[in-house]
């Protein structure tokens, strides 16, 4: 007897194929949408963090104080991106952040938060959980802004042979990770009287003005201690950019004081500073780089001297 073999193949019905294809498409879109949503959520969080950081920097700005210091602690390792833009009347300070995603990789920088009235001096990217901050007023000759300096827990500075004024700033403000003695090996050496360090500072006859040079980078110039710290804590690109922004604001303020002195001269408060302020406003408006600071500072000192002699002070 010949036994018939069952030749029936495994039958996949149309329904099953259709179900698998549609199911796969749905699962693919679900995974894609979830990933996108998580990414967007993380970006929103980082953008909010950048804005929050800008807001919490407000109390650190100085009023009549000569300096203020504080620190910021993030709940997790965070990258901070400091960017300076020159567009517009005042330019802009852009702050963005990035944190680690679930797989431990750094996310892309968030959408930057923009502030026209802030001046942050730091390297362009900072990384860590704890950030140290201090601020000093910048005057030229009137107060122009509060300069904010930031460095992270991984950065340390060693000030070698610093002038007494700088040493007392470090002591009085209790600046973390900045040493004037017993420096750590990892700290960046900032030399005030010798050369060959990470940062070499050349001072004019013991005054807090002169120039500063980092290894393999452009030389930058400063005219007071606020700008000296700015040059130490930031890269030359950020320093020059923020300085140009500061000069834009100085120009606008000079123009404001010019309007004020004309307005008050009708009220028996004559300063005779109209011509000086007008020239000063034009000079600061056309400021290009820190090499021009010395010339501008001479004008500023002249305006300060004249204002100090007034009974009805302009500023």
């Amino acid at each position: 007897m010949i036994k018939m073999k069952n030749k029936k193949a495994f039958e996949i019905g149309f329904n099953l194929i259709f179900g698998i294809v549609v199911g796969a498409v749905i699962i693919f879109f679900a995974i894609y949408a979830t990933t996108k949503l998580i990414k967007t959520g993380e970006e929103i969080q980082s953008t909010e963090l950048g804005k929050e950081l800008g807001i919490i920097l407000n109390p650190i700005e100085t009023a009549f104080e000569t300096g203020k210091s504080d620190k910021i602690k993030f709940p997790e390792e965070t990258r901070l991106f400091n960017d300076c833009k020159l567009s517009g009347t005042f330019g802009a300070q852009e702050i963005s952040t990035a944190s680690k995603s679930l797989n431990g990789e750094w996310q892309k920088p968030s959408f930057p938060s923009s502030f026209r009235n802030k001046y942050l001096f730091s390297s362009s990217v900072l990384e860590g959980k704890t950030y140290f901050i201090f601020s000093k007023p910048f005057e030229m000759p009137f107060k122009v802004a509060s300069l904010i300096y930031i460095w992270d827990q991984n950065q340390a500075y060693c000030f070698i042979d610093a002038p007494r004024e700088i040493e007392s700033d470090v002591e009085d403000l209790n600046l973390n990770n900045i040493f004037t003695e017993n420096c750590t090996k990892e700290s960046k050496k900032v030399c005030f009287s010798t050369s060959g360090c990470d940062i070499d500072v050349s001072l004019d006859l013991g005054r807090i003005k002169g120039s500063l040079k980092r290894k393999n980078q452009e030389r930058v110039y400063f005219e007071d201690s606020a700008l000296l710290y700015a040059a130490i804590f930031s890269s030359p690109e950020i320093y020059e950019c923020q300085l140009r922004r500061l000069m834009k604001r100085t120009s606008e303020l000079s123009s404001l004081y010019y309007s004020k002195t004309i307005f008050l001269s009708q009220k028996r408060c004559n300063s005779n500073l109209e011509a000086d302020l007008s020239v000063f406003s034009n000079k600061t408006f056309s400021f290009n780089n820190s090499l021009q600071l010395r010339d501008i500072n001479l004008y500023a000192e002249e305006i300060r001297r004249k204002n100090d002699g007034l009974s009805c002070k302009l500023f």
Partner: protein, 173 residues
């Protein structure tokens, strides 16, 4: 003559139709879920933007009196606004975007008098200086300040009066 009738309503075709209906229903379901999610997420985002805006205005208002554009620097005086400078700031378009504020106003509250907006002609016999104004702004934050100005009477002196500053912040840029 023979006539053949084709049967179009086969079982498979009905199943395809069923499947298509299920797919459309699924699509509608997921769209409703997505709409629901985005409306909640959007509301949360709006809330967080508005709380950031409020926080910024609150922090800024504490510092505004000491900002170089407003501070009275002829003598050391914390929380003193130079009213002469503030009046001139009103006419400077370049500062409209500077503070990231939707609304900024300074008001003289003592001695009490009828509310009059200041300009160069009626100053100082007026009460408010609106530096930044817009049609839409949230509830402004306020702080008490001293308003100091040059007074030409007698042989001239700096006169300070009690005032209030109002500010309302902008959202995330």
């Amino acid at each position: 003559m023979m006539v053949y009738h084709a049967s179009y309503f086969k079982k498979a075709q009905i199943k395809i139709q069923q499947m298509a209906f299920v797919l459309v229903a699924l699509l509608i379901f997921f769209s409703i879920v997505a709409l629901f999610y985005f409306s909640i997420a959007g509301k949360g985002l709006k809330e967080s933007a508005s709380s950031l805006r409020e926080a910024e205005a609150k922090e800024l208002i504490r510092k505004l009196a000491s900002s170089p554009e407003f501070s009275f620097t002829a003598s050391t005086c914390a929380n003193c606004i130079d009213l002469d400078k503030a009046l001139l700031m009103k006419y400077r378009e370049s500062y409209k975007e500077f503070f990231n504020l939707e609304f900024l106003q300074i008001e003289k509250i003592y001695p009490d008098s009828k509310k009059i907006e200041c300009d160069k002609l009626n100053y100082p016999d007026c009460t408010t200086i609106t530096i930044i104004d817009s049609n839409e702004f949230g509830s402004p934050k306020e702080a008490f300040v001293s308003l100091c100005r040059w007074e030409q009477e007698k042989s001239g002196y700096f006169k300070c009066e009690l005032g209030r500053i109002y500010a309302s912040g902008k959202g995330i840029d």
